[in-house]
């Protein structure tokens, strides 16, 4: 029997926007003028931003004193592991021509020190650092236990290599609770230097905050110009892997430190955008007569 359509309910699909693909939408269509003015505007923005950033970076001061060569004799001494108990200090004089105004930060900067090696990064015990389980040193190989089998605290390669004038776990001269002899609250795993070091750097060249200028007496304004010298007790051998060491003094602004990178990147981008905008305009004006009616739009 042929069935008549009336027998069954209508199978007409629903008339909804989604099903009929009629969703209201804004179609992204820019006119040539729109695109060009967008380019110009972006260019202006980038150039402006770049100038501001460069100026801001310029307003901060930064001096870096590389002491790899100055302390070469100490480095030589440290390369031989048997000399670990011999002290070696070297003095690094420098001249500050201009007063560094505002907060002055002192950083140590390492070149070619790979804090980002996979094996290095893994070698730490977070539960030990958090204090939840001090004896948990499983993940710390090869610096997990000392020769007599007692767990090392703090364990692991990162902690072991703490950049310091002096070292403990195998190469630490002092136990963790004596890191700061002046301030009893700044010891153990809560020691600032230790925490900073444990925050591993992403690149082999990095600087880490070491000290802040205590702005009292002469230093209320900042660091006045004049002759200074650092006395470094040299403990950290980097020359074997062609590493370098330096000390950085710097002031900060809202946009960060003295680095010009972001400012330059913005400036270059802005300039390129303008260049592109001009050439696109030229092409457009030259070719549009051939293909476009004056106000024709371009699909984006």
């Amino acid at each position: 029997m042929k069935r008549t359509p009336q027998d069954c309910p209508s199978r007409l699909p629903e008339n909804t926007a989604v099903k009929q693909q009629q969703l209201p939408a804004c179609r992204l269509q820019l006119s040539a003028t729109g695109i060009l003015s967008g380019f110009f505007a972006t260019g202006v923005f980038c150039l402006g931003m770049g100038v501001i950033l460069i100026l801001s970076a310029k307003s901060s001061m930064e001096i870096e004193i590389n002491y790899t060569k100055i302390c070469a004799s100490c480095a030589k001494l440290r390369e031989n592991a048997r000399n670990f108990d011999k002290e070696c200090t070297c003095s690094i004089p420098f001249h500050l021509t201009q007063t560094m105004r505002g907060n002055v930060y002192m950083y140590y900067k390492l070149y070619g020190f790979y804090q980002n090696l996979h094996g290095y990064l893994l070698s730490r015990s977070n539960s030990q650092l958090l204090g939840t389980d001090v004896k948990d040193v499983e993940t710390c190989a090869p610096f997990s236990k000392s020769h007599d089998g007692t767990p090392i605290a703090p364990c692991g390669a990162i902690a072991n290599s703490l950049f310091n004038g002096t070292t403990k776990p195998p190469s630490w001269p002092k136990p963790v609770y004596e890191l700061d002899e002046n301030d009893p609250g700044n010891n153990g795993f809560l020691n600032d230097d230790f925490i900073v070091w444990m925050r591993t750097a992403a690149f082999p060249t990095f600087k880490k905050l070491y000290r802040r200028l205590s702005r009292t007496q002469h230093f209320i304004e900042g660091l006045p110009a004049g002759n200074y010298s650092f006395n470094v007790s040299y403990n950290f051998p980097v020359t074997r892997f062609q590493g370098e060491k330096s000390v950085v003094l710097s002031t900060l602004t809202w946009s960060g430190g003295h680095s010009l990178f972001l400012g330059l990147a913005y400036t270059v981008t802005g300039a390129m955008t303008w260049l592109a905008a001009f050439s696109m305009m030229a092409v457009h004006l030259k070719l549009k007569g051939k293909r476009f009616s004056p106000d024709d739009k371009v699909k984006l």
Partner: protein
């Protein structure tokens, strides 16, 4: 592959012949036939997990991630936490598994429902209800009106006279017209006598289970006698009993052995070009991954040598690392793990989701809904959508696809007089239109009100009592195999095997010769109000070789008459010499009919001598019982009596074109889609229709006709055609020729060749058979592909598929086949995309198709709107997908140079875990489900936009472009901004104090988010990156159309122009009539009910309590 298939195949090989006995379960169990349970489900509770996982891991990407997982378990090389791979893998696997489980659950439910239906089965002399699944081979089952048939069973008896049983086979082949089955007399005598039925112990021997729906051969042995069984006696599972109060059947095949189940084998899985490309890309990505890892491993070796060795104070080498080489080898695998994000794990899942979404759009499209049939378009496969945007060749059937396959009795020629034209008062011929006055059939109570005819002279001739005219209509009302039904007195409903036949019988009915009912021995005709019963002596049925059918009847006046109708070419040769002059006039009329594209038949009769007939009849019935070569013998015997015919006239039937065919073909032409028509019809008819629907245009330079009967002439014809279209293509210097002479062994691609004009090609099936052989194959292909349109007529279904295969093989472009009949199934399966039209000819084509809808003109929308969008979306999706994975991974490659190649990641492990799965998946999905570069009106108005897809321009091995959403819907906004917002939420959550304190080893970045997001540098860098990423793309988009304009850009320009200055709506081109140079004799017919009707003659003419009319 489902399990039962493999089982049944195994058993089949061991079962050359099936043997069973009615009512004897013990005997039948010896053979171990399955019971009637069906199982279409794939999994059960126990095997779901292993089986499903096994299937999923056969996918390259999934298997890769499994290997990765194992690599990560090796501590020496593990560079990422295990969960970075496990979580995405689990998510992807479980999404697929849940989808599979839901599908399978549905199948389980269906199976259960079917298996638990109840049916009456004969046990111990009584009818008892039992579940379907408990039915076994050899049981006798009672099926009542409107019930489904339980299993394949031999019809034993039914409530109807002669044990006729009406069935509907919609579930099997989709055809909704009723079919008739008839039991053999020896069993039909049992009727519903339970005693007799329980005592019935007939033994059946028949062929082993197979999937041929229209074939069955067996022998019933009962009381020492053998009876031949064929498919007319078999009720198939899936049929529904109609108009029959009850019937009894002997179960022959059960469960998985039934023809229904044997037929639902898995269809061949079609893959798209993009699928293939995706796999190639994944392979390339693997190679790329390998080489990256290799470079990094070498780098690591060098680094360890130069730096790492001296760094051992701070990081000593592991004890298993003896040298930098060992370390480098381990590092290779570590990077293999880290760079895994370049392999797109969620690619396949995302692609599936996108395709599913785009298929739903097709199902949901109101503009592809056909109200008269209440049928929406249907995407039966969800894997081919983007291919719809790349179609280059369309292979179309003619009947039922381009035409409606609704036949209208238009004209006739009776005894040399032409009827059917309408003239006005001045004797001018007028076109028939809505206003033309119809002939009044009110004198005839049995007339069909839907039938309309315009020429009054014919009715006058009938009323006048013109003998020839009466005889003509009498022959139309007798010579057919139509079944009639009369539910309400006077309202006849005809069930015809072919619409032509229905139209002819209806015409006869309206003119006063109404066929009212038939039994196997009689035909009742109401002749001008007077009921007459003709005795039916024989039906010589139609087949494709004979191209005619005849009936032999004994009139109430005791004359034996033969009525014949058939193709003019055939019937002409059978005419008595005395009708020669009449024949010539009729032939002229036939030419006129053909010019108008009408389908024609010749009608003739012969009065037979009683003795001659008796002798012939004896011979005929002998032949009918022969087992070998029966058909051939019958045909020979038939020829003995079908000769010396007296010509009565000819009929002309109009085959109406479907709505919108013309416009659709014009649009497809503009979209550079080539249209080939493959039809079983005669050349003249096919060409005529081709002109009518603009496949051939009157402006074409030339139409080549290939009709050679041997290799040599066909070769000549093809070459000369090519010489006209593109003379240089015959020269040896032609690049294609020189390429072919090298005889490349690999499958190769024949490039597009551009002819110097517009040409058409017509080739008939006979020539095609030669042309498709080896060396002519390429000649044919090159010639045919240069033509704008190709028509192949007289095609067998197999040839249709061969033509499609030919183009597919050498052209390497996307092909689409569209058809509506069973004869199109092979080509629908062969083409990349098969489309079934659910039309008049049943639904076999639809059931084998990838997409199905009711009207040919929906094709335009399917390709130009849905196909184009799907393709564009898929391309954008893939570009974006690969882009984001590469960007993400290449950062690690870059970072390796700063981290001593130590396999340290830049990102937090959780970011790696969630990147593909959570942060970036929704924007991509949103893009690929909602993006529209131009809206549907424009893509239909400018078919040129379709071209890039045909050449696969938007996604190929060269193209890796970035995301460009051109159509920002609310959902896109939500997905993109939502994902960004979500990213920050997750960030704060993962870096929160609580989590970090609880799992210090998993969540290590305590407070990082808080502190970093406070820095202005971060935000400034972010803005700069966005600017740097966007500007080049925008600039490129701006300059591309200026410097390298492609046609699409021009079209888009015009569209934008039109948006502001709306065009007047396009003027609808008027359907023009084919010009009058061509002729057509057509004939569309299938084998009728003839054999079935006459088979009633083998029965004893016992008194029947009722006639067919009782209902």
């Amino acid at each position: 592959m489902s399990l039962f298939e493999s089982q049944s195949e195994n058993r089949q090989s061991g079962e050359p012949e099936r043997c069973l006995q009615a009512n004897n379960r013990e005997f039948n169990t010896l053979f171990g036939y399955p019971n009637n349970t069906i199982k279409t489900s794939k999994y059960n509770v126990l095997n779901f997990l292993p089986l499903n996982l096994f299937e999923q891991f056969q996918r390259l990407a999934n298997a890769y991630f499994l290997i990765l997982l194992f690599l990560q378990l090796i501590p020496q090389i593990s560079s990422l936490a295990w969960y970075t791979t496990v979580i995405p893998l689990m998510v992807v696997l479980s999404i697929t598994a849940v989808k599979d489980a839901i599908d399978d659950l549905k199948r389980h439910q269906n199976d259960n429902q079917v298996n638990n239906r109840s049916v009456l089965v004969l046990t111990n002399g009584r009818m008892k209800e039992d579940k379907w699944m408990n039915i076994q081979v050899g049981d006798i089952v009672k099926v009542e009106n409107n019930q489904s048939v339980t299993a394949d069973m031999l019809l034993l008896s039914s409530s109807e006279p002669y044990s006729l049983t009406y069935i509907e086979t919609a579930e099997l082949d989709g055809e909704t017209n009723l079919k008739v089955k008839q039991a053999i007399s020896v069993t039909s005598d049992m009727e519903n006598n339970l005693k007799l039925l329980s005592a019935f112990d007939g033994e059946v021997r028949c062929e082993s289970p197979n999937n041929k729906l229209d074939k069955f051969a067996g022998i019933l042995t009962y009381k020492g006698k053998n009876y031949i069984l064929d498919h007319d006696k078999l009720l198939l599972r899936g049929c529904v009993i109609r108009n029959t109060d009850w019937c009894y059947g002997l179960v022959i095949y059960t469960g998985p052995d039934t023809k229904l189940m044997q037929n639902c084998g898995k269809s061949t899985f079609k893959r798209t070009h993009i699928d293939h490309l995706m796999n190639v890309l994944v392979l390339w990505i693997f190679l790329f991954l390998g080489s990256m890892c290799f470079i990094l491993a070498v780098g690591h070796g060098i680094w360890e040598n130069k730096k790492g060795y001296y760094f051992q104070n701070f990081l000593p080498w592991k004890e298993y690392v003896s040298s930098s080489v060992v370390s480098a080898i381990l590092m290779f695998w570590s990077y293999f793990i880290i760079l895994n994000t370049v392999v797109p794990i969620s690619l396949y899942v995302s692609v599936e989701i996108i395709r599913l979404g785009n298929s739903y759009y097709i199902n949901w499209d109101r503009k592809m809904f056909y109200a008269p049939k209440n049928t929406p378009a249907q995407a039966r496969t969800t894997t081919l959508n983007e291919e719809l945007g790349q179609v280059k060749y369309v292979f179309s059937d003619k009947t039922g696809t381009l035409t409606q396959n609704i036949m209208i009795f238009k004209k006739c020629s009776i005894n040399g007089t032409l009827y059917g034209d309408v003239y006005d008062k001045n004797g001018q011929r007028v076109e028939v239109s809505e206003k033309t006055e119809k002939v009044d059939f009110s004198y005839n109570k049995l007339a069909d009100p839907k039938f309309s005819f315009y020429d009054k002279t014919l009715v006058e001739a009938v009323k006048r009592g013109d003998g020839r005219v009466h005889l003509f209509f009498l022959s139309l009302s007798l010579c057919h195999t139509v079944m009639s039904e009369e539910k309400v007195e006077g309202e006849l409903v005809y069930q015809a095997q072919s619409p032509d036949e229905g139209a002819l019988v209806t015409a006869a009915r309206n003119f006063g010769f109404a066929f009212r009912s038939r039994t196997s021995e009689t035909i009742t005709v109401v002749e001008m109000g007077e009921t007459k019963v003709y005795q039916l002596l024989a039906i010589l049925d139609f087949d494709n070789v004979r191209k005619r059918m005849s009936v032999i009847v004994r009139t109430p006046e005791d004359r034996v008459m033969l009525f014949c109708k058939g193709a003019d070419t055939i019937v002409c040769q059978l005419l008595h010499p005395s009708c020669r002059s009449l024949g010539d006039v009729t032939m002229e009329h036939l030419d006129d009919f053909a010019i108008e594209g009408l389908r024609t038949l010749m009608v003739a009769y012969r009065e037979l001598d009683n003795a001659f007939f008796q002798a012939w009849s004896k011979k005929h019935s002998e032949v009918c019982l022969s087992l070998e070569d029966r058909e051939n013998k019958i045909s020979n015997v038939s020829e003995e009596i079908e000769k010396d015919l007296m010509l009565l006239g000819a009929t002309a039937i109009e085959d109406k074109l479907q709505d919108g065919v013309l416009e659709t073909i014009i649009t497809l032409n503009k979209a550079k889609i080539k249209m080939w028509t493959l039809t079983g019809d005669k050349q003249e008819t096919a060409v005529n229709i081709a002109y009518a629907c603009n496949i051939f245009e009157d402006e074409m330079d030339e139409i080549f006709i290939v009709e050679g009967k041997d290799d040599e002439t066909i070769w000549q014809e093809l070459r000369s055609a090519r010489a006209k279209m593109k003379p240089e293509s015959l020269l040896e210097s032609d690049p294609v020729n020189s390429y072919l002479t090298m005889k490349p062994k690999m499958p190769f691609k024949i490039p597009e060749e551009v002819p110097n004009g517009n040409y058409g090609l017509v080739i008939n099936g006979y020539s095609l058979a030669y042309a498709l052989e080896g060396n002519l194959e390429l000649e044919l292909l090159r010639t045919a592909c240069m033509c704008k349109a190709v028509i192949c007529c007289r095609m067998t279904p197999l040839q249709k598929a061969q033509v499609v295969e030919l183009v597919k093989r050498y052209k390497k472009v996307v092909t689409l086949a569209i058809g509506d009949g069973a004869n199109d199934v092979s080509m629908i399966k062969a083409a990349h995309i098969g489309i079934g039209i659910s039309g008049q000819e049943g639904m076999q084509a639809m059931l084998n198709s990838d997409y199905a809808f009711c009207q040919f003109h929906y094709l335009r929308r399917l390709l130009l709107v849905h196909g184009r969008w799907s393709y564009n979306r898929m391309c954008k999706f893939l570009s974006y997908f690969f882009y984001k994975n590469f960007v993400f991974t290449l950062v690690h490659f870059w970072y390796a140079f700063f981290s001593g190649f130590s396999a340290q990641t830049v990102y937090d492990t959780w970011f790696i875990t969630f990147y593909n799965l959570v942060y970036t998946s929704l924007p991509v999905l949103g893009l690929s489900l909602f993006d529209q570069d131009v809206n549907e009106t424009w893509s239909l108005r400018f078919p040129e936009l379709y071209e890039p897809g045909q050449h696969n321009l938007y996604f190929n091995k060269k193209e890796f472009i970035a995301l460009e959403t051109t159509y920002w819907t609310m959902i896109s906004h939500f997905f993109i901004w939502g994902s960004l917002g979500f990213y920050f939420c997750v960030l704060f959550f993962l870096y929160s104090d609580g989590l970090c304190l609880m799992f210090p080893n998993v969540f290590q970045f305590l407070g990082v988010a808080r502190n970093i997001l406070k820095l202005p540098q971060l935000w400034l860098s972010l803005v700069l990156s966005v600017v740097l990423c966007m500007l080049p793309v925008i600039g490129y988009q701006f300059l591309k159309p200026l410097f390298w304009p492609v046609s699409v850009d021009k079209v888009i320009d015009r569209i934008h122009h039109c948006m502001r200055h709306p065009l007047p709506p396009p003027i609808r081109t008027k359907v023009k009539h084919a010009s009058s140079r061509r002729s057509a004799y057509a004939f569309s017919h299938k084998q009728g009910f003839g054999a079935l009707i006459t088979s009633g003659k083998t029965m004893k003419g016992k008194p029947k309590k009722s006639s067919l009319l009782k209902k």
